[in-house]
């Protein structure tokens, strides 16, 4: 069944149901009202007659019954019966025998004189002190005759309401289908060829516009990712090219070489270049794995300052060899953090290696751990040339190595990996000016919020 028809039917059904509720309510109320009014009339009439008897005796009652019958409407039923049940006065052709009855208000079946069939009636039975029975009441059927008219009108109203609801449903469904159709058409064009298409907005700021805006935002993000992916594959291909062609050249030369010493050296170069290729590929894999949140289940509490101390000690001799001094002032107290110790060790070592590789000329490299209630900052500051403001974003991209003439094995992936590890911890990697030099900061929440997976 097409959605448009379903929406129309649903709207019609809803209109019908709500109207049914209103009509049911009206019907119930009028019915109750009619019954109550009948009851009042019956009790009133009986009270008048017994009062007349009490004050004026039998003669006055006879007179009153005559009056009642003379002026009353055709639904009125009155009868005075002797103790054996024979009618002395009144308009009852058939009445229940008093023996089987008790005093009080009740329903009964009565036939009036001059009428062909008995009717349902509400009556009051009173036993007079002289032993006679007074029956006084009204026929129900005739009394509630207007109910039939009411029921017919209500039924008609119900049908009209149902039809109107269905009509509204059709109009609504058309409207929704048209608005959704616009969005679907854009989606179609995007699927077909053109990612630059955007959903047109009506400007009304309604739900459809909000949906459109969200789809547009999603499309922006997808285009961004596509662009990033394109850049990534381009630079991956480019960066894999150089070690691959060096490897090929070395392998070729080794095959041709006659001197064993030369051959051995060339084979060593083959292995080194193969290793460089493998390292680039593993780091790329590592980045995508950590971005896919695979490491979350290995999160645990650990002391960040202890980790930083260990890495500072580990890299101190490396910095020393390059003529720089690596310093770490360990905070007096432990700095606990809930995270992936191994991955953060890798992130921090990338930052330290980066500082050693590009900032050693400045002489001093400082590692700092700044504890906080909510977040911890781990900083690596060098006094090297730094990165100009407008090129920092580029530095964080995969293969974003700024000096492309450099041929060492850095491959520009270190900062990108550190950033993706920071993201895994719901934190971020910041690059700032050290005036002069570069400060790289891992800003990490002490306990990352549990993200729904």
């Amino acid at each position: 069944m097409p959605t448009t028809l379903r929406i129309a039917l649903l709207a019609g059904l809803l209109a019908l149901l709500s109207n049914l509720a209103v009509i049911g309510f009206i019907y119930g109320r009028t019915h109750d009202e009619a019954v109550a009014s009948l009851h009042r009339q019956v009790v009133e009439q009986s009270k008048v007659l017994t009062d007349v008897y009490r004050t004026g005796g039998k003669a006055s009652l006879d007179e009153a019954i005559d009056d009642t019958l003379a002026y009353a409407d055709p639904q009125t039923a009155v009868g005075l019966l002797d103790p054996s049940g024979r009618e002395l006065k009144g308009n009852l052709a058939e009445a229940p025998s008093p023996q089987s009855m008790q005093e009080g208000y009740r329903s009964a079946v009565i036939r009036l004189r001059g009428q062909p069939s008995p009717h349902q009636a509400e009556i009051v039975l009173s036993k007079l002190p002289s032993g006679e029975w007074l029956i006084s009441g009204r026929l129900v059927g005739e009394g509630l005759a207007f109910r039939a008219t009411l029921e017919r009108s209500l039924l008609l109203a119900l049908v009209v309401a149902g039809l109107l609801g269905l009509l509204c449903g059709v109009i609504l469904a058309h409207y929704v289908a048209r608005r959704i159709g616009n969005i679907a058409a854009v989606a179609n064009r995007i699927t077909a060829r053109d990612l630059s298409q955007r959903v047109p907005l009506s400007g009304a700021g309604d739900s459809f516009d909000r949906l459109g805006m969200q789809i547009n935002a999603m499309l922006d993000r997808i285009s961004g990712l596509m662009e990033e992916l394109r850049l990534l594959t381009d630079s991956l291909a480019h960066d894999l090219r150089s070690p691959a062609s060096r490897l090929r050249a070395a392998a070729h030369a080794a095959a041709e070489a006659t001197d064993p010493a030369e051959q051995e050296e060339l084979l060593g170069s083959v292995v080194r270049n193969a290793d460089a290729l493998i390292r680039i590929l593993s780091t790329i894999l590592e980045i995508s794995r950590s971005e896919a949140l695979t490491g979350r289940k290995q999160f645990a509490w650990f002391d960040v300052s202890e980790l930083a101390a260990e890495l500072a000690e580990m890299y101190d001799p490396v910095a020393d060899e390059r003529g720089a001094s690596l310093r770490f002032d360990r905070p007096s107290r432990p700095v606990p953090l809930f995270g992936h110790r191994q991955l953060l060790a890798q992130a921090l070592s990338n930052l330290i290696e980066n500082a050693i590789r590009y900032g050693s000329a400045g002489g001093e490299i400082d590692v700092l751990v700044r504890p906080g209630d909510k977040q911890i900052r781990v900083e690596v500051a060098d006094r090297g040339p730094g990165i100009p403001l407008d090129r920092r974003e580029e530095a964080l991209r995969r293969f974003g190595r700024l000096d492309s003439s450099r041929s060492d094995e850095g491959a520009g992936l270190g900062l990108a990996l550190a950033q993706s590890i920071a993201h895994l911890h719901e934190g971020e990697l910041l690059l700032n000016d050290n005036q002069p030099g570069l400060v790289t900061t891992l800003r990490l929440p002490v306990h990352p919020p549990q993200r729904a997976r």
């Binding site: 292995v271 593993s282 894999l285 590592e286 695979t294 580990m314 490396v318 191994q342 890798q346």
Partner: protein
């Protein structure tokens, strides 16, 4: 002395290359090409070492390992895997493997690890003499003191751990990755020559002024401590 090694690897080329190399080293190698067969052979517990590929047909390596450990078969297991991220390595180790080697690897790296694992098993079973000696080098793990030719060497804590690890693998090749994993407990590949720098510092303290060097570089593989 040859040992019994079970090799569970579905890639025939890799398997035959490894089996050939290990056999040349004097070990006897039995092969299985899927996880179920591997688990079946491993359950008799007669092997000295199991080399287990992580991605196997029928039953993957991690499941085989879990089943073995659940059955209280404590044969050392070396996992081979193309899944080389830090998270994958930790997961492999936490499942009860004794070592984890990422593909592609050199045969020298594999051999070094195989020997270290076999050696560890031997040490676990053999009598415990807590003093370690390599030539005129004497190491006391309890007091963490090191003497060479009777003269005390001043080592930093990490240098001591490095030397102790070398001494426990005396006469065997130890690779850079093994040092990073075993001495520092890090499971990533550093981008610098950080391990070499530490080893050369240790070597300066250990061998400088002595005629016969103890700490040797093994080209294309790593290092070895030997008298």
């Amino acid at each position: 002395m040859g040992r019994k090694i079970l090799l569970v690897e579905d890639d025939r080329e890799t398997a035959s290359y490894l089996a050939k190399g290990l056999t040349q080293e004097g070990h006897s190698v039995e092969q299985a090409t899927n996880g179920q067969d591997g688990l079946f052979r491993a359950t008799d517990g007669s092997f000295d070492l199991i080399i287990l590929d992580r991605m196997l047909p029928v039953l993957d390596g991690i499941s085989v390992l879990r089943a073995l450990r659940a059955a209280h078969i404590e044969t050392p297991v070396l996992i081979l895997s193309a899944l080389g991220s830090v998270g994958d390595r930790i997961e492999g180790l936490e499942c009860g493997s004794d070592d984890y080697l990422v593909k592609p690897f050199s045969f020298a790296e594999l051999l070094a690890r195989v020997n270290a694992l076999l050696r560890r098993r031997e040490a676990r079973v053999g009598p415990a003499d807590h003093r370690l000696t390599v030539g005129d080098l004497e190491i006391d793990p309890l007091s963490r003191t090191v003497k060479r030719a009777g003269k005390k060497l001043e080592l930093k804590p990490r240098e001591y751990l490095l030397l102790e690890y070398f001494a426990r693998n005396e006469g065997r090749v130890v690779t850079r990755t093994m040092l990073l994993e075993q001495v520092w407990d890090y499971h990533f590949d550093p981008g610098t020559n950080v391990i070499d720098v530490h080893v050369s510092r240790l070597r300066r303290k250990l061998d400088e002024g002595f005629e016969k060097p103890l700490l040797h570089t093994v080209r294309g593989a790593g290092y070895m401590l030997a008298a």
